[in-house]
């Protein structure tokens, strides 16, 4: 059966709309700010045969590009092998196991079998980042776990809704194992409701076009997306490209971890391997295979943003499984840092490899860390415990024609940071400053954007601080002659004494009492191109804006300036 080009285009945009509506419904109804405000969630449609990605919401958090096709595939295989109960209409499975096609434990996936004429036509699935999943550290970002059991509750695929009925028993097991459990019901209901919105929209799509036409269109769209990705790849000259990126440490052993990516361009396709990458690590900076693969997809989508997200677009990317490296963690390796930090280093390595080949499309390295700072304690004034998170942006890299963006969000995110006025209302903290981090953008013909500098003081009681950040050891890479951006910095001031974490960007269990302070500076972006080529007017404007001191500019650009 062939399909006319108009129907094909209409179905393409309709499938996209189904996913976008699921995304919107999920975050509008969600409870946790991390989903509602930071959009740390994603929704998509997956094939019934093998879980391949059919369409994914454009408003989903970038880190989830392509991830759910791995978890859906594992679910389908486990059902086939009889390891998981077979689906029935109205069922919704819940799963968060990292080793079954997942990310870290906090990313909880729901999957709904979509039925047409008594058969599973496709799967609808979504992921939401839960604010807590149990484990040793509130929020789940342990800096020094050595096994997944320390990171939280691990759920195999089980039916949370059985033929439309909510399983209170399973839910009560979950609630007994996570913090601030009483609010989670709001997220669970929102997450399930989003899938039901998708189900309803998909039903009307089938009613309009017919199931057969839809099936044919899905297959055709997959082939078209592959064709489109090949077209884009053909802009890259034939040859081999290598990029590296450094993770500060795994949080347990204070040694840098290296990601080396080797890319070969041949016949409109890319062959990607990680030869030369560090071995599995003791701490939580391991990545599971699904996350490693989707980090590559994510990086490619940042480079070619208009290729639709579908399994077809990934087809021309041949990724060799990185066995024996920390990018292919197996049970029970701890993995809580994979989605937030390691994924961004993988993307950075890919950007570094491809910038010489695509200098107009790939920028210098962005800050590339989520800047996760968590503070947990008891507020004596309110008489209740609290867990506070501060995520931060940083500078983006310069591009072929612009300076980097200041305080951009992480490579894997699209989140807004919470207002200071909200943080101070909810938590016993006082911000002493929240400022542009002067001097942090790497010099270049187009300089990097600036990071943020903030200082938080604990006002009362006691609390425990933890950090999972990165780029403390080396700054985001400058490219084509540009200079690296400024490194991440964390300083804890206790009783007036400064303490710098041994692992620079990762630590946990730091006891604070009232009056103690934490000061964080997030990385600036890397510079792009030779600093000597930067127009003097722009250098002077940077001086006027007090972005740098005269000395810093004189040194970086070799020009004489006075403040």
């Amino acid at each position: 059966m062939s399909i006319d080009p108009v129907t094909l285009a209409v179905i393409q945009s309709s499938l996209q709309q189904v996913c976008d509506e699921m995304d919107l419904s999920f975050s509008r109804a969600a409870f946790s700010p991390v989903i509602a405000e930071a959009n740390d969630r994603s929704d998509g449609i997956y094939s019934a045969d093998n879980g391949e990605l059919i369409a994914q919401g454009a408003l989903g958090l970038p880190v989830f590009v392509g991830t759910m096709q791995f978890s859906t595939r594992v679910l389908i295989e486990m059902i086939r092998d009889g390891k998981v109960a077979a689906p029935e209409p109205g069922d919704i499975y819940i799963v968060n196991d990292p080793y079954l096609g997942g990310t870290h434990l906090m990313d909880v996936r729901f999957a709904l079998p979509f039925y047409h004429n008594d058969e599973v036509f496709c799967w609808l699935s979504n992921t939401g980042h839960w604010p807590d999943i149990g484990g040793s550290v509130p929020g789940g970002f342990s800096a020094n776990a050595t096994a997944v059991e320390q990171e939280g509750l691990r759920l195999p695929p089980v039916k949370l809704f059985k033929q439309g009925k909510f399983d209170q028993e399973i839910y009560s097991i979950i609630c007994s194992n996570i913090r601030v459990a009483e609010q989670r019901i709001g997220d669970v209901k929102a997450q399930a409701a989003a899938l039901l919105v998708g189900q309803e929209r998909l039903n009307s799509l089938i009613a309009k076009h017919g199931a057969d036409t839809l099936k044919t269109a899905i297959q055709e769209l997959k082939e078209r997306a592959a064709q489109q990705m090949r077209q884009r790849i053909s802009q890259i000259p034939e040859g081999s490209y290598t990029g590296t990126a450094i993770v500060d440490s795994d949080g347990v052993v204070n040694e840098p971890l290296t990601i080396q990516v080797n890319i070969e361009k041949k016949d409109q396709e890319l062959y990607i391997d990680f030869e030369g990458t560090s071995e599995p690590c003791a701490g939580p900076m391991n990545s599971v295979l699904a996350t490693t693969r989707s980090s590559i997809y994510l990086a490619m989508r940042h480079i070619f943003p208009d290729v639709p997200i579908s399994a077809g677009a990934f087809e021309p990317l041949h990724i060799k499984d990185p066995h024996g490296t920390f990018l292919y963690a197996e049970y029970p390796r701890p993995v809580s840092g994979c989605a937030a930090e390691v994924s961004q280093r993988i993307a950075e390595a890919i950007f570094a490899a491809l910038v010489p080949a695509l200098p107009d499309l790939v920028p210098a390295a962005p800050a590339g860390t989520s800047g996760n700072f968590a503070l947990g304690g008891n507020d004596p004034l309110k008489g209740s415990s609290f867990v506070m998170y501060q995520l931060s942006g940083g500078g983006y890299g310069g591009t072929h024609n612009t300076d980097g963006l200041t305080n951009g969000c992480s490579t894997i995110g699209i989140s807004k940071t919470p207002p200071i006025e909200v943080m101070e209302q909810y938590f016993p903290v006082l911000y002493l400053e929240y400022a542009l981090r002067e001097g942090s953008g790497g010099a270049g013909k187009q300089r990097g954007g600036f990071g943020v500098q903030y200082t938080i003081e604990l006002r009362r009681g006691e609390a425990t601080a933890s950090f999972v950040m990165d780029h403390g050891r080396v700054g985001p890479q400058g490219v084509l002659g540009g200079v690296d951006g400024m490194r991440n910095s964390v300083t804890v001031i206790r009783n007036g004494e400064e303490y710098i974490p041994e692992h620079l960007s990762k630590d946990q269990g730091i006891r604070l009492t009232a009056g103690d302070q934490v000061r964080v500076g997030t990385p600036g972006g890397g510079g792009y191109g030779n600093p000597a080529e930067r127009p003097e007017a722009l250098i002077r404007s940077d001086l006027e804006n007090e972005y740098y001191t005269a000395e810093q500019l004189s040194e970086a650009y070799g020009v004489k300036l006075t403040s």
Partner: protein, 681 residues
Amino acid sequence: MKQSHIIAGIDVGGTFTDLIIFDQSGKLTLGKTATTVDNQAIGVMNSLKESEVAINTIDTLVHGTTTTTNAVLERKLAKTGMITTRGFRDIIELGRRTRPQPYGMYGNFTPLIPRTLRLEVSERVDASGKILIPLDEQQVRDAVTRLIDAGCESLVIHFLHAYANTDHENRALEIAASLWPNNYITAGHSLLSEYREYERGVTASVNALVQPILHRYVDRLQSELRSGGYDKDLLVMNGNGGMVSAGLVANEAAKTVMSGPASGVMAAAYTAKRAGIDQIVTYDMGGTSTDVALILDAIPAVSSELEVEYAMPIHLPMVDVRTIGSGGGSIASVDDAGLLQVGPESAGATPGPICYGRGGTRVTISDANLALGRLNNQSVTSVESSVSIDDIQTAIKKQIADPLGISVAEAAGAVLTIANNKMAGAVRMVSLSKGYDPRDFALFAFGGAGPLHAVAIAKELSIPKVLIPARPGLTNALGCIVADVRHDFVNTINQPLDAVESASVAEVCNAQKQRGDELIASESVAIESIEYRHSADMQFIGQTHLLNVAIPSIDISTEELQQRFEEVYFNRFHVELNEIRANLVNLNTSVIGSRPEIELSQLIDPANRESRLESAQINTRKVWFNSDWHNTPVYDRQRLPLDAIISGPAVLEQMDTTIIIEPDCTARSDTDGNLLVELSQ
């Protein structure tokens, strides 16, 4: 009020300045003149001159202006300084950590006020309003002097937590006022007493940046009007869909930034209500943008969370109009996957669609409409230079038909099919997907291109009827005439509902009500009655999103408020959460002075109406519907009989738009000159 009250509405748009003068004796004057971009007042005076209505006979003149909109979008702003809490001058430069697009690690963001004009002073208040560091008044004085010396014309005072304690901002305001050479000083809390420092700071900054510009503009226009003989108060449209006296408008200039689309929605609500329709999705499609709004129970939905552009929020209550696309100028092309795409790229106003003859070479939605006979191809030659229908067909053939292997007509039809599908999806996302049943709604189509697409889009959305007003191209000017006088107030409470006394709800609402009464009394506008609308912004504890809950009476108990909130929540999300308690975030009051009823039946002159439908027919032309050409009657809308019933397919032409009645639909006209199109189910 005297017998023949004359009211004039003049709305300045991107291309045209539209005028409606309504005389209660029954006379109606309409006008369309060119907008004068650099000084809109010239165009306004021209339109009055052309109307041939003596200016001194006009009793009320209501004006919609894009002066501040353009100033913001083009960044032609007054030089402005900011005084802020020490340690926080970068708040409006850092934003809230995003990037303009989900994919692509780049983006530009220029702060509204440059870094060197943002000065810090020692002071600090905490979230409960407690003063931690007293205001250093000498530092304020020094900062004010420095900003005056730097040549600033406007000033913003923006302190952390000023919504919780206004003392420091008020004191700094006093000090600044004693030194500042003019009145252009905005204190963050006075415009918006709501938490969230970035949004409040940007809102205050926008206000200060456009205040002198709006003030000068309004002054100039008022003096021109005065010398023309109009000595009454000039009224200016606000983004909340109400009007405000020219003497007050510049104080809260930020409220005018999004006023244009708001007037259109007010006119839609008014027109539809007269036609007996209360549930509306408005669809305003022009050459460069498509705007959508929801009207529920005849009241336009209001939002306090709109953004003018990326990272430029204006958090003031405004009619919730969402831009969903770039209108008739959206470009159609075949991508490298061989798939036809329409938008988001746009030809804009220049070079514009091929048919504009301004040098555009890429096929747009407007060009497809022409190629299919939906637009009169005579109108191609009437635009700026000579582009023939052949040129358009050649472009469609080359850019779309050949790559897809289909005919030119099929290709143009495909462009519309895909455009309508995408626009319908976008309309649903910003309106009906909030939990409404499309079958309860009518689509209200206006703007130059709205009535061309509305019937097809309603079909996609399962909306059963389309309402096309008498003057789709003059809707904003009509909005000026029918709008009410309106003032909105917001106060942040942000406490669990359990901790709030019922009496304090009444107290806050009462204070807001009084402030509104005082403002209305200071304006010299004829109003018939004053209406008060109270509402609460609420959320479940732990949530960040807000839902607006109407408060029917200020004596409401907090229990009833909780119950109402749960109802609204369930209707919106179909989720029941009786396990969790609610938070009361804001209390809002709108004080609305209703103006005298306006009769719309003169919008189409009844004297010109024919008695039989056939007499209103201009000719027949070939128009493409459902994959084929149909001989389609073309009618002159102005001449339709009052009770005309038209079966589709049909084309209706009028001065400012073309209406397409798709096959299998029936259109009826009513006494106000509206067309109501019923879709076949």
